[in-house]
Amino acid sequence: MINTALPRSEPWGSLPGAQPVRLFTLRNAQGMRVAISDLGATLVSWHAPDRAGRLGDVLLGHDTPAEYLASTAYMGAIIGRWANRIAGARFVLDGVEYTLDRNEGPNLLHGGNSGFHRALWDVEEDGGGLVMRLQSEEGEAGFPGNVDVTVHYSLDDEGELTIDYRARSDAPTPLNLTNHAYFNLTGEPGIDIRGHVISIEADRFFEVDAALIPCRESLVAGNAFDFRQSAPIGARLDWPHEQLSLAGGFDHCYVLPGNALEGRPVREVARVYDPASGRELTVSTDQRGLQFYTGNFLSDEPGHNGSRYGRHAGFCLEAGAFPNEINRLERDHLIVRPDKPYRQVTKYRLGVAAHA
């Protein structure tokens, strides 16, 4: 029997300053293996069985830490302090205007110039899972407050990977974390995700402007964004819709149901099925938003085992706050304060569906 209580770790190269990087592995009774690096608290690979029990890697990722540092794809990393975009790279809090890194035109994207995804996290093993810690100093990317972040990864025998995020700050600051895993359930990176069948439990989404900043809230009914009944991604990418032309595919945030500002339960919000392998991904979260991204910007990206990832080689389902939500009128719930810590729970479960 494999002892599932102790995650194994191995050296995995080093950063430019010679700091060693490690790769940790979570396992379960089905033989699943999830490899996680302390660089960016990144999900590097996830080997999961198909309908015949054969293991295949369902995550896109790179082979070396150097490739992660060189890439702008944010593969599998924890994103902070702010996931997705902040328009104009600015916000006002308690009467003070804060100016942030502008790393995508005039806007902030995914934490700014440095970002949590490029940091080396401290790791502790805990009850079979991994506890990853990061201290983000006041002024990082322009945000106030010293923030202590803890991300707890755990894998159960049903194939469910739980990502439990907690954070504290010594001063009020906005915080919005996510994981930027790209999935390809076929286990074969050469096959794109157009054949995957997706359902998303949401009746509204945000339309975006040319800089991909949300500009208005729309109903999904009667258009390409309606995944309340499952549909193949490839067919929907070809439906006529100016928002799809604008973003080169899906790169849009859905408004999840049960979206009270505080105290939301973890609920199942999306499912993706690959007919070829029979693998099925289920996403559950306590967040209000779910960004559905179809890898529109991927182009000749270095991948696992020397492969290259092209357009639509993977998809992301990123749970979090709404993009640029910090610049909406109602945003108090996004502010972490000394007496009000941050918490998010998001779960990805991989299984095999009997059939469609």
């Binding site: 009944q229 070809d238 979206n259 029979g278 469609a356």
Partner: protein, 440 residues
Amino acid sequence: MAAFPLKSRINETGNGTGDKHAAPTADTAYPRANPTMTKPSVPPKAHRIALLFNANKVYDREIITGVGNYLLSTRIGWDVFLEEDFRCRLTGIERFDGDGIIADFDDPAVSEALQGSPLPVVAVGSSYEDGSDYPSDVPYIATDNLKLISLAYTHLIGAGLQHFALYSLPPSPNHRWARQRELAFARLRGADGRSPEAIEDEIYRGLSTSAPSWNQAIEQLTHWLQALPKPVGIIAVTDARARHLLQACLMSGIPVPEEVAIIGIDNDPLARTLTRIPLSSVIQGTEEMGRTAAHLLHQMLHGARFGARRILVPPVGINVLESTRHRPVASPYVARARHFIRQYACQGIRTEQVADYVGVSRSSLEEHFRRELNCTIHQEILRQKLDAAKALLARRDMATAEVAIRCGFTSLQYMHAVFRRELGCTPREFQERASAPTPG
């Protein structure tokens, strides 16, 4: 032209975000889409739409279901014209007093009748390898034949098979999709290094199905099957054709899936109920085809024009059943025994009868089972019965007592006990779990 005045154009850009009468209720600082544009005091007149399909087939029925689902997901009210018996008749279609048509273009008569139609038309049908085979003037929603065959082929490879074949249909203008599936198969086999001649030998078209030629058709099919290298995985271009294969295998004693693994296309429940060995099948994206066609027509009714735009819809699943559960076994005794068990487990057969059929002693057959499958003959019979019971329960149209009888359990109590022991739940609990919604 259309007999009904078009609704005021609620969607000027044709981007698919029209018809939002209901404003979302959650709190937001962003402007809502479509604030006050459509609050008609009188409901707009419904568009009158004809659906030209032969809904006696499961494929066409599911496409129509998709159209219906699209309408239900929106506030669109279409006045839908369908023939009384759900079949397609073209007589008088040029005098159809309506606003738009969605039609099955696999039927050449349909595409011909609609040529130059003044009404907006959306075509639905087969994909074609050669772009010039598509109609040049209407948007076209296609089932992606290459993806269908590729999914079936990948599945057979995954089941451990190394020889492959395709059972198609004789060429006919009404079955152009069958030819497209042959081309797809040839392309995939070619990519795997087979020569064109070798591939041609792997494709068998057989006879068209008719009562007088039935015996002859099955005879010729049996010949072809017997000549194939074994074990072989065969893709049938429809479930109806797959059923012929099963029939021929059963009649000539070829074990399925040990010697011949079979996968069809359509996931047709009727074809499944007519076969003794449950048939694996590729599930086409038919509902999505219907939704897509309805969406395009909806946009066209509001002024959008799509020219000869094509949208290919991939398959959405495989129903994996016994006919492709190929587990290579070394012992021919075990293969023959399992073939017998699969057919007759539900009729209450006993271990001795299996040994008699195979023609070896019971103890020797038990030894083979232990070595190859790590179970007893009795356990294999029970597994078959359990699988059959699970499939019937999932259909939810039969009392549990009836299921017990049909699957060869001597009593309902015994079936209960087996479910408890093997699955840790009662038949009823299993049924509840099985009927939970699944994607695709």
